[in-house]
């Protein structure tokens, strides 16, 4: 995913960059995302889904990506506002993406629901990865005005 994905959109604010190097960082990220979702007026269910998706992806970054960072961006279009979360690592990358996106597939003893689950829980999902080139997963949740 190149930078043009971000630059063609309007931003309400600069990205907030949060480290994902420890378990505590994942907890902090959940809080931050929750606070932003509340501020943007998302319902409780929307908040729960998005924070859960964020938790899954943050954990992936930590466990499989060797640590990395999350970018939190508030977004706005003419008729909607939203939150965009990117989870970025410079780890090994995913060799077989189709396999990784299958429910239940795990390379690390997890439940294998992180990527596929996050895709279901968010409105938009994009992943950019290649062996040896790290992984960036981006999810967006929108709220209509």
């Amino acid at each position: 995913m190149g930078n043009d994905f971000l630059s063609t959109r309007n931003h309400l604010a600069e990205p907030l960059v949060l480290p994902l190097q420890t378990d505590e960082d994942v907890v902090r990220l959940r809080k931050q995302v929750r606070d932003d979702l509340i501020a943007l007026g998302f319902s409780l269910i929307e908040q729960t889904k998005m924070v859960t998706a964020a938790s899954e992806l943050a954990r992936n970054t930590l466990r499989y990506g060797g640590g990395g960072e999350a970018h939190v961006v508030r977004r706005s279009d003419d008729d909607r506002r939203g939150i965009e979360l990117s989870f970025i690592d410079e780890g090994p990358g995913i060799a077989d993406l189709a396999l990784a996106m299958t429910d239940g597939y795990t390379s690390g003893g997890g439940l294998g629901l992180g990527l596929s689950g996050a895709k279901r829980l968010a409105d938009e999902f994009e992943i950019d990865t290649a062996p040896g080139e790290g992984t960036t997963v981006t999810i967006i949740k929108w709220k209509q005005f």
């Binding site: 994942v26 269910i45 729960t48 924070v51 859960t52 954990r59 629901l113 689950g117 279901r120």
Partner: protein
């Protein structure tokens, strides 16, 4: 690292999760519960998650694994107080919590576990 307290009530163990657990804390809880089931010869475990507004696949896995270990040790596990938004999200996430019974609240959960005796 702090640990989540586990209370004993007769042959039952009760645990209320009131913090947003990081992964290490969740694993410590799983270990502690398993150890206590043996030590206290418990035959029931009640896990109260009414204060949790997020249950992701790691926590879900911890709960399922705890229930599976408890079962091997001849103890039943009941999960109580799941928030509706959490239940909805778990279904969408595809998390099924195999081997875990559920009840609406602590009182009903205890009744369920006591019925076993």
């Amino acid at each position: 690292m702090e640990r989540i307290p586990i209370l004993r009530m007769g042959r039952l163990l009760l645990v209320t999760i009131q913090v947003d657990m990081h992964d290490r804390l969740a694993m410590a809880l799983q270990e502690d519960l398993t150890t206590r089931i043996v030590k206290d010869r418990a035959n029931g475990v009640l896990i109260d998650i009414s204060a949790l507004d997020i249950v992701d696949s790691f926590i879900g896995r911890m709960i399922s694994d705890t229930a599976a270990m408890a079962k091997i040790l001849d103890a039943k596990t009941v999960l109580v107080g799941m928030q509706p938004a959490v239940a909805i999200t778990l279904v969408e996430l595809g998390l099924t919590l195999e081997g875990v019974s559920t009840a609406l609240n602590v009182e009903l959960g205890i009744k369920m576990l006591e019925q076993r005796n």
